[in-house]
């Protein structure tokens, strides 16, 4: 559970760090909104995939540790 929370916080931190960069891209207004919009769509789907993947990894790690404990017995 703490792992999940950690992953979520990490994702939030990455988002917070990367956002000013994204908003500073381009000077032309039209290209800026277009480019930024695409960036945001990519970022949104990346966040979705990364977080779900994080959950999968946390489940897998738990499974591994449980299996090790079972072998140990």
């Amino acid at each position: 559970m703490t792992k999940i929370i950690r992953t979520c916080l990490l994702a939030a931190a990455i988002l917070a760090i990367s956002s000013p960069e994204l908003s500073a891209q381009g000077t032309d207004l039209a290209s800026q909104t277009l480019g930024r919009a695409y960036w945001h769509v990519f970022a949104a789907y990346a966040i979705g995939w990364i977080l779900v993947l994080g959950w999968v990894i946390s489940i897998a790690r738990r499974l591994v540790s449980v299996e090790q404990a079972m072998k140990g017995n």
């Binding site: 559970m1 999940i4 979520c8 930024r36 789907y45 994080g54 489940i59 404990a69």
Partner: protein, 234 residues
């Protein structure tokens, strides 16, 4: 169903969900038309809305399992609530992070005090406290009961929070799918959304079942270990 069957179902659903997620990616980037007023950023819709649905659906499972757990004291219900809460928190985080990305482009601001935004942020914190109380007790049984109480109070308070935050003027897009005149979305957009919803549901249920069976195994092992320790001590 036996645990093996549950795990197999979970894996199958998760694989289907992953395939669905790839399909959604393709649809979002290459197939669905661009929305006229909100532009490209509207494509975030197809990940934002399905995760919102899962976040609330999962909390429903958490609350229901918690309530019955307090009543019947069946360990399995607590494990189901825990698994659902983990998944719910993952999808709630996705929703909260993708929302501002969309809002920044469409409304020009990362955050507004818009009712549904506030509600989901509070939902996230209720999930957060669910895990916090579970891990903050010396006696794990007590932690399970505390978490269940948080889940139940949360589900009772959420409608009230919803009423109070919607009391103020809303900036969020009005409901476009569930309304009396029928959906006002373009058919292709609607199909993409439906695929997104189905995908998120399958992914969630699949991973939920996997997490649940892992938790079953873990508690079995824990029990055996404490049993062995007790035998050694005696």
């Amino acid at each position: 169903m036996s645990q093996d069957r549950l795990r197999q179902t979970g894996v199958a659903l998760a694989v289907l969900g992953t395939l669905g997620a790839l399909l959604v990616l393709w649809m979002v980037f290459f197939w669905v038309p661009t929305e006229r007023t909100m532009g490209i950023a509207q494509r975030i819709f197809y990940v934002h809305v399905p995760s919102a649905w899962i976040a609330f659906f999962a909390f429903g499972i958490v609350a229901l399992c918690s309530a019955v757990y307090l009543w019947l004291k069946d360990e399995r219900l607590d494990m189901a609530a825990l698994a659902a809460a983990e998944g719910g928190m993952v999808f709630c985080t996705i929703m909260i992070l993708t929302g501002p990305l969309w809002a920044r482009v469409s409304w020009g601001t990362w955050w507004t005090w818009e009712p549904r935004l506030v509600l989901t942020l509070l939902l996230w914190f209720i999930y957060f406290s669910y895990f916090l109380v579970r891990n903050a007790t010396e006696n794990p049984e007590q932690g399970k009961r505390f978490a269940a109480v948080v889940g139940i109070i949360g589900v009772l308070d959420i409608p009230l929070i919803h009423i109070s935050v919607t009391w103020m003027r809303s900036l969020h897009p009005e409901p476009v799918v569930l309304k009396p005149e029928g959906p006002s979305l373009d058919p292709e957009m609607l199909i993409t959304l439906m695929v997104g919803l189905a995908t998120a549901t399958m992914l969630f249920l699949g991973l939920f079942l996997m997490r649940y069976t892992v938790e079953c195994l873990k508690r079995e092992v824990d029990q055996r270990q404490t049993g062995a320790q007790a035998a050694q001590g005696a």
